[in-house]
């Protein structure tokens, strides 16, 4: 069956392969469905570098679900308000206003940054940061960065309980101004880690629990 068309087919295959290899070498084309490097512009210019990096806040301080639920969760606006009821603008802007006020001999005014104004709008606060019954609170619609297909069931709890650093999967979030997908979140990537952990758990004297690579651990 290959006698007549075989040379043609082989040539075509060869050309396609060479062409693809060239594409791979020249661009950052990724295999279908993988989104490493996905870095959408979020509705609020929230900086993980500032909060998790510079200020050194713990990831679990805001993403509380990671220990108690399958989803780490995006914090609600009330969590932000825990600090930002007081902190209304960047330190530099506040400092500048204080210096200006001192120079002019007056009380410093409250400075509200444009980005935090979006938060106050979300929880329905007016210009003086008082609850405004006329405004309907509207949650912020963030763009989802890490998104698994619907047929995969990932659970944060066992991974956090085992002491995995968040950065192992999410990358150096504390250095990211805007969150970027770090790992490709493919099944091979998951399974590699599970295999390594299973080997570690099987080693003599290991205390860690057995890690499975059963299909039904994640697909059900």
């Amino acid at each position: 069956m290959l006698t007549g068309g075989a040379p043609v087919a082989a040539f075509a295959l060869c050309a396609l392969a060479l062409g693809l290899a060239a594409v791979i070498a020249e661009s950052d084309v990724r295999p279908i469905g993988l989104h490493t490097g996905y870095e959408p512009v979020q509705p609020v210019r929230y900086s993980h570098r500032l909060h998790a990096g510079e200020l050194g806040m713990d990831c679990l301080a805001c993403h509380v679900g990671a220990e108690t639920s399958r989803h780490a969760g995006i914090p609600g606006a009330d969590v932000c308000m825990g600090c930002h009821a007081q902190v209304t603008a960047g330190f530099d802007a506040v400092l500048a206003e204080r210096e200006a006020a001192e120079a002019e001999g007056r009380e410093p005014r409250r400075i509200v940054s444009a980005e935090l104004r979006k938060l106050y709008d979300a929880v329905g606060l007016d210009a003086e940061l008082r609850p405004d019954p006329a405004r309907t609170p509207q949650p912020i619609a963030w763009l989802r960065v890490h998104d698994l297909p619907d047929f995969v069931y990932f659970d944060h709890r066992p991974h956090v309980a085992r002491g995995l650093a968040c950065q192992q999967c999410h990358g150096p979030v504390q250095t990211m101004e805007r969150v970027r997908q770090f790992a490709d979140l493919s099944m091979g990537w998951c399974v590699n880690c599970h295999r390594q952990s299973a080997a570690d758990a099987a080693a003599p004297g290991a205390a860690a629990p057995h890690v499975s690579t059963d299909c039904a651990r994640c697909h059900f």
Partner: protein
């Protein structure tokens, strides 16, 4: 095409072509992915993910974290038994209902109807807000219309309800009746009116007694399907199972005798079943009473009529057994026939059961309907004496025979108000609709038995604007307040004092809200009067029931386990639930005894016409159903309801599909339109294809393939109690010696193997597990036409086996799901490794690998695999909220089957490991079927842990595995059914 077929030179060329890719670190898989991606890559060089998905956090992070499960204790609204429910919720909505173990009556069980209540909540057809003459209005506008009519109505106000089990609603009804001067009429379908009247006359207590079956030694039920639909089936089933423990060192096994005219669930589980026609029931009870009188050396209470040969002798044996178990027996009667009820009461009285197993001092409150009051109401309506009629919870126009003129009568009310949220025949006649909320979205309370009170609370913010009858009555009386305030106020004023607690009200109420149930020990007991012999004489001398002539049959309209009286007719889970006895879905049929069907020349599926003496008739497909009395035609109530036309769109639409509703646009036929009693049954010459699952997924071998002359495989096994007693406890072991190993032992034991045990002796076939599985695992509804094509998707089916007929009929129910074989035949034939074994003994089905060859289903000896022929979308978008987010919704073209609720195992393992344990403790994982089972027939656990409950149960001598001869080593172990067929006093049955 394999590489072996290529000449060497060509392999070399192909290999060379791949070299650049291999150098670039691209493997075969990646190459194939890239090849597919090539064209797209050319036009989308710098694509980001599309579409972007939003994630919107809650504004207020209080409460449960996103994705975490929590349970809310509430009360089932499926029937008047009002079982306790724990609603498993996530992200603010209920996803699954379980029985509440804290509830002293239902004790953790929940029936099929209770399980399906979840789907009733997510029904997009529920009315959203009030309507006046078909126009949606505001609550104030609707209230203005009703209050205006009430003011002008005077004494012509009538409130017609189903039996009201809610104490707080009852209090508001009392207030309403006092304020308006009208009347409250309660009605039950089917009616318990005769039992109420008899107990009122004989004992001075107008109530049906509470029956405590847990301690009985003999129970005799006369036309009372107490395991299926009569009274409080979940509570009865649990008690019944408790009274029968064949594995105890000295077997404690209550004998269950069922006297009935057609096969019911209770009859199918009875040790001894006696068939009598409805017109003989009184005679049968009289014969029993006469025999009991003989034992007590007293005169027989009434003359005895002739009975079919053999019946009398068996009733004598029953009397002997009852007499031997005086004070620890129960005679139940479900017939709405006062003389029969009086004889039943007399028997219980003579046996000393009142005050012991039959409690009239603290009676049941689930049935208080009064037929005389209903008749009076219909008269008043006919005479135009009713100004305002408020109807709650009962579809009167569909429940009574057309000849009673209900439709015409309802039209005579000046203002008719319906609280039905769904379309029905009665609501269609109403001027004002004030839709009631679903039981899972409002505050409520229930007292199905005196002193046993449960609280219902919302599990979700209301999905549709509705208002309960209680809140409506309060509003019409000018007392504004929502259900929470009204219920709380009643509990504070009335119930708190009865609880005997020293805690302040707020603390007590919050505690009850957490557990969902409270016992009120100080609720006043009604002391029954001594037995009134004169009243008894009046009852038993009533005129006899009409005896059918030789050319007629007696029509028996019964409640089916799924639809009951029709109030669940719009629930697709229940419509598609195979009836436990007929296995018919999406239809009701005329059940005829096989001999009768043969005599009439009717084959299954032939449409017959049942014509009553008053000229009314109904056409139904016939079914030859063993266990039906030859003089009886038995038909399930609740079908042919107006709202079921909605199911015209259910199921996949393709070129050959046929709609689910029948020719007249509704599902089934409304048998209630003709009065029960003698009917002529004639074939119409038409035939229809009944959708029944009975012949689907058979495990029997075709005769030509069977090894020894078509031997029937011994799949559902039974053993006689006498055998166990003779052996001194435990049944003779069924274990067959293991055969030759076909497969290598390649699954090394790892200490965990999940499995089930199913006790066929406790299983009553109620199908609660089947609906629980459907709810838990996103199993779709496929519609009648697909079921006809053997395409039902249920992971758990209940096989029903008949042997014998008439009085010797034996019925077995066997729940069957994936057996999770260690040597799974499905795994060896899958070409893509989509079904593989897990290290904890599960047979996994990987949907994303499956390419739909269906080899696995062919090779499965248990026939438990289901193939998605289509994407089965729900009939209603709101129903998607009932899908379990922890389970993948399977798409067209893939195989699926029972996973042993692997999502529950995963959750329990994560919780156990989080708490520092290695594996979930025994009992920490409960599958959906296990959790729902009212009799605890199903148990789940680690079969490799010798200390686990399942391992202990599997060591029973009754244990066996289905098709053990195949040596596939299933993970599901069955326990043979035990049947006490030998009457006490020795000797085999002589008839």
């Amino acid at each position: 095409m394999s590489t072996d077929a290529l000449p060497d030179a060509e392999i070399a060329v192909a290999r060379d072509a791949l070299l650049p890719l291999q150098r670039a670190g691209v493997g075969r898989r990646t190459f194939l992915q890239l090849a597919g991606f090539g064209a797209a890559a050319a036009v989308l060089p710098a694509c980001s993910r599309a579409p972007d998905r939003h994630v919107v956090p809650r504004l207020d992070q209080g409460g449960e974290p996103v994705g975490a499960r929590y349970r809310i204790a509430t009360t089932c609204g499926g029937c008047e038994a009002r079982c306790g429910v724990l609603a498993t919720c996530r992200d603010g909505r209920p996803l699954k209902l379980e029985g509440n173990p804290e509830h002293a009556l239902s004790r953790g069980g929940l029936c099929a109807v209770g399980q399906a209540e979840l789907l009733g909540l997510y029904d997009g057809r529920r009315a959203d807000g009030p309507q006046v003459r078909g126009r949606t209005v505001t609550w104030d506008e609707a209230d203005a219309v009703v209050t205006q009519a009430l003011r002008e109505g005077g004494a012509g106000v009538r409130l017609l309800t189903r039996t009201v089990t809610s104490p707080s609603t009852r209090a508001w009804i009392d207030r309403f009746v006092r304020a308006t001067g009208g009347r409250h009429v309660e009605v039950d379908v089917p009616s318990y009116s005769a039992a109420l009247a008899v107990h009122e006359e004989l004992f001075g207590v107008r109530a049906v007694p509470q029956i405590r079956l847990a301690s009985v030694r003999v129970v005799a039920a006369f036309d009372a399907d107490f395991l299926g639909t009569w009274g409080s089936p979940v509570a009865f089933a649990r008690d019944w199972a408790e009274s029968r423990d064949p594995d105890a060192p000295t077997p404690r096994f209550a004998r269950h005798v069922q006297v009935e005219s057609h096969l019911t669930l209770s009859g199918s589980r009875a040790d001894i079943r006696i068939e009598v026609a409805p017109h003989e029931l009184r005679a049968a009870l009289a014969a029993l009473c006469a025999a009991l009188a003989g034992h007590a050396s007293r005169p027989a209470p009434t003359g005895t009529a002739a009975l079919a040969p053999g019946v009398g002798a068996r009733l004598h044996k029953l009397a002997a057994a009852l007499w031997a178990a005086r004070g620890a027996s129960a005679v139940l009667c479900g017939a709405d026939d006062a003389p029969a009820q009086a004889l039943c009461a007399w028997a219980n009285h003579l046996l000393g059961n009142y005050g012991a197993t039959v409690d009239l001092a603290r009676p049941a409150l689930h049935a208080r309907g009064d037929d005389a009051a209903l008749a009076q109401l219909l008269d008043d309506l006919g005479e135009g004496r009713v100004s305002v009629l408020i109807i709650d919870g009962v579809d009167l126009a569909a429940s009574l025979p057309d000849a009673r003129g209900v439709t015409a009568a309802l039209k005579r009310a000046a203002l008719c108000v319906s609280t039905s949220a769904l379309e029905d025949d009665t609501r269609a006649l109403a001027h004002v609709v004030v839709p009631a909320p679903h039981a899972l979205e409002c505050w409520d309370d229930a007292e199905p038995v005196v002193g046993h009170v449960s609280l219902a609370q919302p599990t979700v913010p209301a999905l549709r604007a509705g208002r309960s009858l209680r809140a409506s009555l309060a509003a019409w009386l000018g007392a504004r307040g929502d259900d929470f305030a009204l219920v709380r106020e009643h509990w504070s004023a009335e119930l708190h004092a009865l609880s005997g607690t020293g805690a302040p009200f707020d603390v007590w109420f919050d505690a009850v809200a957490r557990t969902g149930y409270v016992h009120l020990p100080r609720r006043a007991a009604q002391e029954p009067r001594p037995f009134d012999a004169a009243a008894f004489e009046r009852f038993v001398n009533a005129p006899a029931t009409p005896v059918p002539t030789s050319d007629t049959l007696t029509l028996v309209a019964y409640d089916s386990v799924a639809l009951r009286d029709g109030r669940h007719a719009q629930n697709p889970w229940l419509q598609e639930l195979p009836d436990p006895l007929t296995k018919v879905v999406w239809d009701n049929v005329a059940c005829l005894a096989p001999a009768t069907a043969a005599r009439l020349g009717v084959r299954p599926g032939d449409v017959v016409r049942l014509a009553a003496a008053d000229g009314s008739s109904v056409d139904l497909p016939a079914l030859a159903q063993p266990g039906t009395h030859p003089d009886v035609v038995a038909v399930a109530r609740g079908y042919g309801r107006r709202g079921t036309s909605r199911f015209a769109g259910i199921g996949p639409r393709w070129i050959e599909s046929r709609p689910t509703p029948g020719a007249d646009g509704v599902v089934g036929a409304r048998v209630e339109r003709i009065p029960p009693g003698p009917v002529h049954v004639v074939a119409t010459g038409r035939a229809t294809e009944i959708a029944t699952t009975q012949d689907h997924h058979r495990m029997e071998l075709p005769t030509h393939l069977a090894p020894r002359g078509g031997a029937v495989r011994d799949v559902a096994r039974a053993v006689a109690l006498a055998e166990i007693v003779a052996k001194g406890g435990g049944a003779p072991p069924h274990h067959a010696p293991p055969g030759a190993e076909l497969w290598p032992a390649d699954h090394a034991p790892r200490g965990v193997r999940w499995g089930l045990t199913i006790d066929l002796s406790a299983c009553i076939g109620c199908s609660a597990c089947a609906v629980a599985c459907q709810a838990e695992n996103c199993v779709p509804v496929v519609g009648r036409d697909e079921v006809r094509r053997h395409r039902e998707m249920t992971w758990l089916r209940i096989d029903r086996y008949f042997s014998g007929d008439g009085d010797d009929l034996s019925v077995e129910h066997q729940p069957l799901m994936c057996q999770h074989c260690a040597h799974a035949p499905c795994e060896t034939v899958c070409p893509v490794l989509a079904t593989v074994h897990s290290e904890d003994g599960l047979n996994q089905q990987v949907y994303n690998r499956c390419v739909g060859t269906r080899y696995c289903a062919n090779n499965c000896p248990y026939k438990v695999r289901r193939f998605n022929w289509f994407d089965y979308a729900p009939d209603d978008d709101l129903r998607r909220l009932a899908l379990n987010p922890d389970v993948t919704v399977r798409s067209r073209g893939v195989m699926e089957k029972c996973t042993l609720c692997v999502q529950r195992i995963a959750e329990a393992r994560i919780v156990a490991r989080g708490a520092g344990g290695a594996a979930p403790a025994d009992g920490a994982v409960r599958t959906a079927c296990e959790e729902s089972c009212p009799t605890q027939a199903i148990r789940f656990g680690n079969v490799e842990d010798p200390g686990s409950a399942v391992a202990r149960i599997a060591r029973s001598d009754r244990a066996y595995v289905v098709l053990g001869e195949l040596n596939v080593q299933p993970g599901v172990t069955y326990l043979s059914r035990v049947r006490d067929t030998e009457p006490q006093g020795g000797g085999a049955r002589d008839d």
